[in-house]
Amino acid sequence: MPDILSLLSIAFLPLLITIILVWGIWKKVPIYDAFIKGAKDGLKTSVEILPFLLGIFLAIGALTSSGAMGFLQETTRPFFEKIGIPQELISLILLRPVSGSGSLVLAQQIMEVTGPDSFAGRAASVMVGSCETVFYVLALYFGVTSVKKMRHAFLSGIAGYIAGVMASVYLCHIM
C-alpha cells in the first residue's frame, strides 16, 4: 500500500504536465504562447503576495525568537498534561499552525531526543503529516482578497486542527 502511494506521489507532476501538453497539442492550442502568457500572470501574483509573506514571516519570527513561544508553552503545559498529550509535543502543537518549515525542524528535534520510533516521535511525525499550518493559510489566502471578516473560516480551521492533533495522538496509541 505505501509503495503504490509513493509511486503515485512521485509520478503525479510529470504525468499531469504530460497530459496538459499532449491535450493542448491535440486541441491545436499554441502551447508555447499560452505558457508565456500564463507565466507573466503568475509572476505578477508572486510579486503581489510578497507583502503578505513579509507580514507573516515578521510576526512568526517575533513570537519564536523572543521566547514568547516558550512562555506560552510553559503556561499551557498543565492543560496539555490533563488531556494526555506528552509534553514533548506541546511546542509542536503551538508552532505547527503558524510555520510549516519551523515545525518540521521542531519535529526533527523531538525525534532526535526521543527517537523516531518512540511514541512522541511517531506522534510528532503523524502531526506534521496530517495537520496543516492553519494560521499561515488563513493569513496568506485571505491576504490576496478584499476580505476583512473571515467569518466561519477561522473556526472551521481551528476545529479541524484540534481534531487532527487529537487524532494524531490517539491513533499513535492504537495503530
Binding site: 505558457f35 511525525s125 496530517s130 495537520c131 476583512k148 481534531a163 487532527g164 491513533l171
Partner: protein, 193 residues
Amino acid sequence: MMNYIWGFMLIAGIVVSLATGRADAFTDSFLASCTDAVEFTLSLAGVMAVWSGLMKIAEESGLIDHAAKALRPILTFLFPKEKDSQTLAMMIMSFMANIFGAGNSATVFSLKAMERLDAENGHSPRASNAMCMFLALSMSMIQLIPITVIKVRSDLGSASPDDIILPSIAAGLISMAVSVWICKLFERKSPDA
C-alpha cells in the same frame, strides 16, 4: 481580525524579548525574517510562473472544463453556488497538488482560486461561503505521502520510517471531516448575504 492577530504577535514578541533581555535576538530575527520572506517569494515565483503558464494551456485547450465537469458531484455538495468552471478547476488543482505533496504548486492554485472567488464575491469585505469552505478544506487537506517527514525519520535511523503514512492519512481525514462539518453548520445558520 488580522489586524489584531498581527499586532498582538509582534507586540507580544517585543514585550517578551525586552522582559527576558533578548532584545538582540528579536532584532536579529526581525531582519532575518525580511530576507527569508523575499527569498521564499523568489523561490515561489518560479513555480508560480510555470504553473500559471501550464494552466493557461490547460484552460485554452478546454482541459480545465473537462476536469471540473467530471468532479461536479462532489463539488456541488461542497460549493453549491459555484458555477464558474475556472474557479472550480483552480480549487481542484490546489487539492490535488496538496494530496500529492506538491505544496508550492498548491499555494499557487489556491491563491488563484481565492482571487477568482474574491471577484465573484464583488470584492466584498465579508468572506463568501465558498471562500470559507475552500479555506476549511485547504486547512485540513490530507497528503498521501508526507515525504519530508519520512525522509527525516529515515535519516534519524527509524526502523520503519513509513509506518506513519496510514495514521497520518486517517488523522488527516478526521481533521477534514470536522472542518467541513463545522463549516456546513455555519453555512446553514448564515447564508451568503
